[in-house]
């Protein structure tokens, strides 16, 4: 039987862990607010900042576009084919397009785009920031160079743009593939197709869809960087901070997905 002191110490450890967890989240929110303030400040947009922003946006999004588009095309074709064949075998072809749009465009593609943006853009950028902080002796990470504005904000903005761009392109490609798979290379099915898409994207669903993509983009752009920044700038701690950032990111993405499902189907 555990003694009262051990129970007390366990409780105290739990309370301390919870307080630390809350403190970390608060620091992430605070960092996000600082970055938002910087992004909304006109004085931020100097020539040097614009150069850094454009460079990070391009280097973050462009290399992923072709690969992700090919990946999305393959994934979409497979899922669309499965849905079509299944619906034909059950005599429910009139629901095939709606199901494709709901499954792929509303649920799978935004999630895939966010994860892909995280893997190809924001997590490597977080590692870069961690390396800059660790090797601050080279002069890139010191107070004189305003690292939050010149190093962090462009990378977060690039992550957001990357996630949004990948989601937008993949949704467009999926909608196009769905049309071609169902109607073929003809424009005759466009009115019916448009009507079905309009059915799916009711105002509530469209709002949830937009908020979900924006929230996921923000999560994958901010959380890996913020997890690195709130951790102490010691080499041994940074790897742990990157892992914590990944866990936080997946947790938030899961939360966003759950909330969107509740908003759409509850």
């Amino acid at each position: 039987m555990p003694s009262a002191s051990s129970v007390q110490s366990t409780l105290a450890d739990g309370v301390r862990a919870f307080a630390s967890w809350l403190n970390n989240w608060w620091r992430i929110v605070e960092l996000g607010a600082r970055l938002l303030t910087l992004a909304l400040s006109p004085s931020t947009y100097t020539a040097a900042y614009r150069q850094a922003l454009l460079r990070h946006v391009y280097l973050g999004a462009a290399p992923s576009l072709v690969g992700f588009t090919v990946l999305t095309t393959l994934l979409s074709l497979v899922v669309i084919r499965i849905v079509l064949v299944t619906s034909v075998s059950y005599g429910l072809t009139q629901y095939a397009l709606e199901m494709v749009v709901r499954v792929l465009v509303l649920e799978l593609i935004p999630l895939t785009a966010a994860l892909f943006a995280a893997l190809r853009c924001t997590i490597p950028r977080a590692a870069e920031v961690a390396a800059l902080r660790t090797n601050s002796a080279d002069g890139a990470w010191n107070a004189d160079n305003d690292p939050m504005r010149m190093q962090v904000l462009p990378r977060v903005a690039a992550g957001i743009v990357c996630a949004l761009l990948l989601a937008a392109i993949s949704c467009g490609v999926t909608l196009l593939l769905a049309y071609l798979s169902i109607y073929g290379f003809t424009s005759a099915g466009f009115p019916a197709y448009t009507r079905t898409v309009g059915h799916v994207f009711s105002p509530g669903v469209a709002l949830v869809f937009g908020l979900k993509i924006a929230a996921m983009a923000l999560a994958v752009a901010l959380l890996p960087l913020a997890s690195v920044l709130i951790a102490p700038a010691r080499p041994g701690e940074l790897t742990s901070a990157e892992l914590k950032g990944l866990v936080r990111m997946f947790f938030v993405i899961l939360l966003i997905e759950g909330v969107s499902l509740v908003g759409n189907y509850a």
């Binding site: 850094a52 454009l54 460079r55 937008a168 392109i169 467009g172 898409v197 009711s202 105002p203």
Partner: protein, 323 residues
């Protein structure tokens, strides 16, 4: 193109600003294009007119569902609300370009199927009727498959119950089948169908014996028939005799015919005699009249003599008697 703060490991990018601007422009174009397409798909840019359908129960009707005409969507449900009478009011926006399919005589149905949602359909029988006005209210005919299902299940249950009663161990059908089995066993037995008909083992033997006797009788009848044939149709048979008799009878009839002719002549003469007698009778009548007149004259003469007879003492005694 590089700045003081960029990663020295990254290579310089040519036309960085242009490429980045293109990416951002692509993002803006995709987002705005998607938004515009969704607004177009939702019918935001369409000119519509309102149609209100009234129904007792709006179950299955959801906002955004189509109103179809001949399988083509011509309207979209924009809302469902309760009326003051407690009915459901289905508010439908019909695009102006499709509104000409709806006429004042159009019928509207709400069909709830087992698979999939409910469907709203419009039927316009007479397309020359006036157009349906904006804001028109129409009643909806409801066809509910799900509501008919319990009735179907109840009927099926009743049918299954009847089948169970038919198939039960002590049912009439089972008893009938047992009887059929017994019958077929008897049919397959040594007595065959005869045993099944009479129901015991003794009567079939009697019937068989009777059949034997009938056979014997028939053979004797065959012999009798042969004999009768000889006696009737043979050379000295009844038929030949009858033929001779008929010839004789013809002769007798000829004689009779001659006799009858003679009788006819006698009768003609008798008729003549009768005519003469009738004339004689007429003459006798005249004669009798004359005799009667003579007698009356004699009687009157005698009466005159008796009155004038003076010597008679007793007139009554002495009167002359004519008779």
């Amino acid at each position: 193109m590089t700045t003081d703060h960029e990663d020295p490991a990254s290579p310089p990018v040519r036309y960085l600003e242009l490429k980045a601007a293109l990416l951002l422009a692509l993002l803006v174009a995709l987002i705005s294009g998607t938004a515009l397409y969704l607004m177009y798909a939702r019918g935001v840019f369409e000119q519509t007119q309102r149609l209100v359908l009234l129904v007792d129960d709006s179950e299955g009707v959801r906002v955004g569902m189509d109103l179809t005409f001949s399988g083509f969507p011509i309207g979209r449900v924009r809302g469902v609300e309760l009326s003051a009478e407690g009915n459901a009011r289905i508010l439908i926006d019909v695009p102006r370009k499709d509104a000409h399919w709806l006429r004042t005589s159009s019928m509207f149905t709400l069909v709830r199927s087992l698979v999939g949602g409910a469907t709203l359909r419009a039927y316009s029988g007479v397309l020359t009727d006036p157009l349906l006005p904006d804001g028109a209210e129409r009643k909806v005919l409801v066809g509910d498959t799900a509501a008919e299902l319990p009735i179907l299940v109840a009927s099926a249950r009743e049918l299954i119950g009847n089948l169970n009663r038919l198939a039960a161990q002590d049912s009439a059908l089972s008893a009938s089948l047992d009887n059929v089995k017994t019958l077929t066993e008897k049919l397959n037995g040594p007595q065959g169908a005869l045993g099944a008909l009479v129901g015991n083992d003794i009567d079939p033997k009697k019937i068989a014996a009777a059949l034997d006797r009938v056979n014997t009788l028939l053979s004797r009848l065959d012999g009798m028939a042969a004999k009768a044939d000889t006696q009737v149709l043979g050379p000295d048979g009844l038929v030949a005799g009858s033929r001779a008799t008929v010839v004789q009878l013809n002769a007798v009839l000829g004689d009779a015919r001659g006799t009858l002719k003679k009788v006819d002549a006698v009768l003609a003469e008798a008729q003549t005699v009768a005519g003469n007698v009738r004339e004689a009778s007429t003459d006798l009548g005249a004669l009798r009249g004359e005799v009667d007149a003579t007698v009356r004259k004699v009687e009157s003469l005698v009466d005159e003599v008796n009155r004038k007879w003076p010597f008679a003492k007793d007139a009554r005694e002495s009167e002359l008697k004519l008779k």
